[in-house]
Point group: C2
Chain length 340, copies 2
């Protein structure tokens, strides 16, 4: 009985209308090769006429795959959602996935029970792979997923020898470029405000700062490095201390825009003019960066590319038995604005 013209049309109905078999229609909608062009067109016409949309459930059931991947973010990420940083990645990931006909499941992991549920989800075959937004160094989730045999790609890495596939920006290079820019601008006493030392990304950015100073032939004063925790308040505090210790400071590299904004505030309070007296450079290119007074010079990560790379690696890992960890490091770009 194929003539029930009610409800959503099925593949079988398309086949009947086009006068071909199910297999052929399946090949057409999956863009598989081995279909004569004329046949393909006929099938396509039938699809359009019926307004056929493949049933996802049937597809996953028969195909033994979910046709969906999870984009997991932790509580912390959630906060940052409004930032271009994340929304751009999510957009890029969404686009790239859509092109492949893979569904994106945005998943929020805040508590341990939610983490457990994710694991269950994944093991239950509801998703074929997992994309993890920034994970902290002590988070074992990536390893658990890997152990469960689930294709996984990380955004950023937890340490220098990450054993899971990841995509990261060139934090060292970005920081070096930023500080190099300060050097070329004639600054001679360049301070740094770093992130938590246990975070790999903070280590990288600090390393870039050091390398740039060395390249410039500057001595490296430990007292010129103040530690923050990536928040605005910590940036303010760090900058205040820096001014006290080194009143002669004429530039500062902050390892995040938030801290740079804090530094800006502290400099303002201390009566220093930016960029005249002190140049400030941040990192991330958050929304915030364009709204500060003056607008922040900062290092931008190629979000679009990062998102696309993550998807590419994940799909690769999904299709072929995992043979290796892939690591992709993407170049950053210095956005020169008013602050330095």
């Amino acid at each position: 009985m194929l003539n029930r013209s009610s409800g959503t049309p099925t593949l079988e109905e398309v086949a009947a209308l086009a006068g071909v078999g199910r297999g052929t229609v399946s090949r057409v909608i999956n863009n598989a090769s081995g279909v004569r062009e004329s046949t393909r067109r006929a099938v396509q016409r039938a699809i359009d006429e019926l307004g056929y949309v493949p049933n996802l459930a049937a597809r996953s059931l028969a195909g033994q795959r979910a046709g969906a991947v999870a984009l997991v973010m932790t509580k912390t990420d959630w906060r940052l959602f409004g930032e271009p940083f994340f929304s751009e990645i999510v957009s890029a990931v969404g686009d790239a996935l859509d092109e492949r006909g893979v569904q994106l499941l945005l998943t929020l992991v805040r508590t341990d029970s939610e983490r457990q549920r994710l694991l269950e989800y994944v093991r239950g075959g509801r998703v074929d792979g997992v994309l993890l937004m920034s994970v902290s160094a002590e988070d074992r989730l990536p390893d658990m997923l890997a152990d469960a045999g689930v294709p996984t790609v990380l955004l950023g890495r937890r340490s220098g020898d990450e054993r899971v596939t990841y995509v990261d920006a060139d934090n060292v290079g970005g920081a070096r470029e930023a500080v190099g820019h300060l050097v070329r601008g004639g600054r001679t006493t360049i301070a740094a405000i770093t992130g938590p030392p246990e975070m790999y990304v903070a280590q990288c950015r600090l390393r870039g700062y050091r390398e740039a100073l060395r390249e410039a032939g500057f001595a490296e004063l430990p007292s010129l490095v103040a530690q923050g925790d990536f928040t605005e308040a910590s940036g303010r505090r760090a900058m205040t201390g820096l001014i006290e210790r080194h009143p002669e400071v004429d530039a500062v590299f902050a390892a995040s825009d938030s801290m740079a904004a804090g530094a800006l505030a502290a400099l303002h309070t201390a009566g220093r003019r930016v960029p005249k007296d002190v140049a400030v450079v941040g990192f991330d290119d958050f929304e915030l960066a364009e709204q500060t007074e003056p607008p922040l010079t900062t290092v931008r990560q190629p979000m679009e590319e990062i998102g696309r790379a993550m998807v590419r690696l994940l799909l690769e890992e999904m299709s072929s038995p995992k043979v290796a960890w892939h690591h992709v490091i993407l170049r950053t770009r210095l956005m020169v604005r008013g602050s330095g």
Copy 2:
């Protein structure tokens, strides 16, 4: 052949282990009635032993429903994601849905093509219902979904006579309470900074302001009402104009926290002290509100309840043939902080 002990266990394997039929296991995992307690326990034991997780795809295919709902947000919403406003709703929605075993699909609709894709998705039966975050007045998406026969619930309404099920906060009441608070604080020249007049939510908040003035027996001066567009910059501009026109202004009700923050900045520039010279009250209770100097007194919407109500209405509409539009208006709460 049931003894292939490889891969994910199936319902059939659970049934075999428990010594019952498929139907019984199905009843147990779906919490259906009509299973003897002893049988239920035996099945549960088998489920635990095998670590059985139902296959979602098979379930939707057989059950003729997707078991998922989409939470749709527009480009604008995306921006606001970091705000408690949205993340709280998403959390609440996610929790409520999880309890019902329904999957949440976070969907981003930025372009027309994405809007088209959503429609296709929905029509393709990939989701059973749609939750729409703030939609603008001229957006026809809700109607299109309704026409397609898809259960839909809106957050907020597009106009006074919205013909789709929605959940909204009591914007009028919230504004009235905020302005009433200003009145009780002894303020006599209370200005308002409104949102775009074509937005229903802006109209409501303005109405609340007017009602409160009327209640207090104050005359309503049109020149005391300045228009903004919910952004910080517009709030700053509006406040500057207000100060020029009415140097005697001693309080301002801003229809959003962002605009209130802008007003704060403008007042600061003009040398007015807050709350001594001018009291400021916002609306939304965004993250921002606690960080301003001084912290912003504002109107908070019951996000948790809003999210839960949306889910409840959606599930209701999904299970029963749509017979009526449901409208739920939730009470707001005035958060009194330092600014007024």
